[in-house]
């Protein structure tokens, strides 16, 4: 009961935060979007030069620091890592390739549906397909391996990087890029955005809100606890879009979105599949980074680097749609994710046979 109430409170608070951030300046249907915010941060650091999406979004640092403080307070902060870090980095890159094709992370997917964007409704089954494919690979033997206990310094990197980002944001040195127009220029006051991020981080750490688990658990275990959090988030965002008069039920003229249905669907399939394989959606990767999981921070660094590549190579979607190169990237991403999945399953089975024949070692 306690867990159910907490996750519903979390969904409502993050939903209200998203509405407030949009009222105070964040782009429409983008109160919270982990993928978009990381893309903006990549731009702010100069990792890509798309002038319209450069800003050191304080929400991301807030989420990581909120999760860090909540985990410390609840004595859940635990340094771990060493479970296929390079693969996790690559999975992060694919995750954001899919997200920047759809133009949003799973959190924004929900916000877009709540705002009446029917393109997001097409993308939702794509996300579910990706989750289904990921869990199926896990059932067949996919694993990234057991994480190890590591020296504490490993887990401090994520919160320290978050503080450094905030220092750079508020001191605004000349080498930091900041959009003067476009989505990157649409921003709520930094202090408000930081506060909203911290709230989201604290509550998501305590409740374990995860957009992958929210759909995985009802599909595979008939468990609706995590789903109730996302439902509360959706209901709040929906009520917010009605109250603020931004609700617009249509495919066309949606803010920072395109109407290429097939790429919306497949983009979110890539996000769903890579999220399951990496052990959580983009939001969850930030939360885990905050509570000491250095593997999750590798995924976040992959998200950041992937965002830079997507923009540097002109692969990210725009409101006009998805380019041929962008579409090819999505297909290749799906193919490589499946190759990674099946190669690990094959290697695992081969090792099991070898162990059974020669070693017979039991742990």
């Amino acid at each position: 009961m306690r867990d159910r109430i907490l996750i519903i409170i979390t969904g409502i608070v993050i939903g209200i935060s998203a509405i407030i951030l949009q009222i105070f300046g964040n782009p429409a249907n983008m109160g919270f979007c982990v993928a978009c915010f990381l893309r903006d941060i990549a731009g702010g650091l100069g990792l890509h030069r798309t002038a319209a999406v450069q800003y050191l979004r304080p929400e991301i640092a807030g989420i990581i620091l909120g999760a860090f403080l909540a985990a410390l307070f609840a004595k859940e902060f635990k340094t771990s890592g060493g479970s296929s870090p390079v693969l996790r980095f690559v999975l992060g890159m694919f995750m954001i390739a899919g997200a920047l094709t759809f133009l949003g992370c799973p959190l924004r997917l929900v916000i877009r549906i709540a705002g009446g964007d029917l393109n997001a409704l097409i993308a939702l089954p794509g996300y579910l397909t990706g989750i289904w494919a990921g869990v199926t690979l896990q059932k067949k033997g996919f694993t990234l391996g057991k994480p190890q206990s590591l020296p504490t310094i490993n887990s401090i990197i994520a919160p320290v990087c978050s503080v450094l980002l905030l220092v750079l944001l508020f001191s605004a040195p000349v080498f930091i890029f900041s959009s003067t127009e476009g989505p990157g220029f649409m921003r709520a006051p930094a202090a408000l955005a930081l506060l909203a991020g911290v709230f989201a981080g604290v509550l998501a750490q305590r409740s374990r809100l995860c957009t992958v688990g929210a759909f995985r658990d009802p599909l595979f275990f008939k468990d609706f606890q995590l789903f109730s959090g996302i439902l509360a988030f959706f209901s709040t965002a929906f009520a917010g879009s009605l109250i603020t008069g931004t609700f617009n039920l249509s495919f066309s003229a949606q803010p920072i979105a395109h109407s290429d249905g097939i790429w919306n669907f497949l983009g979110m399939t890539v996000v769903g599949l890579s999220s399951v394989l990496a052990g959580g959606c983009p939001l969850r990767q930030l939360i885990l980074s905050g509570q000491g999981d250095s593997d999750a921070f590798m995924t976040v660094l992959g998200l950041l680097s992937g965002a830079a590549l997507m923009h540097n190579f002109g692969l990210a979607a725009t409101s006009a749609g998805v380019s041929a190169a962008g579409g090819t990237t999505v297909i290749l991403s799906l193919a490589v994710l499946l190759i990674i999945g099946f190669s690990i399953i094959y290697t695992g089975k081969k090792n099991t046979v070898l162990n059974t024949v020669s070693n017979r070692t039991f742990t």
């Binding site: 305590r206 275990f221 039991f362």
Partner: protein, 86 residues
């Protein structure tokens, strides 16, 4: 019928494999999302009857599957303060 036991593993795959091995050994068990009070990680755990804990431990040990943790699945009273306890 003993109390329900929740067993967590280091990876999702091991939880799924453990269920299959235990079911083949005739143990009544099922997969569940890891309860929040057990862990802050959103993986998959195994729930089973505590009365069968010995055979479970033995079977998994012989199959080379390492158990991460075990805990009881008992309901706890709800209070606002408890939101910030593990």
């Amino acid at each position: 019928m003993g109390s329900r036991l929740c067993i967590t593993f280091h990876t999702t795959y091991h939880a799924i494999k453990a269920e299959s091995i235990l079911k083949n050994a005739g143990v009544d068990c099922s997969l569940i999302p890891v309860p929040r009070k057990v862990s802050s990680v959103c993986g998959i755990a195994l729930q089973c009857d505590n009365a069968e804990s010995d055979i479970i431990e033995l079977t998994l040990s012989h199959s080379g599957i390492e158990i991460e943790s075990t805990s009881f699945l008992d309901a706890k009273d709800f209070s606002l303060l408890s939101l910030f306890r593990k």
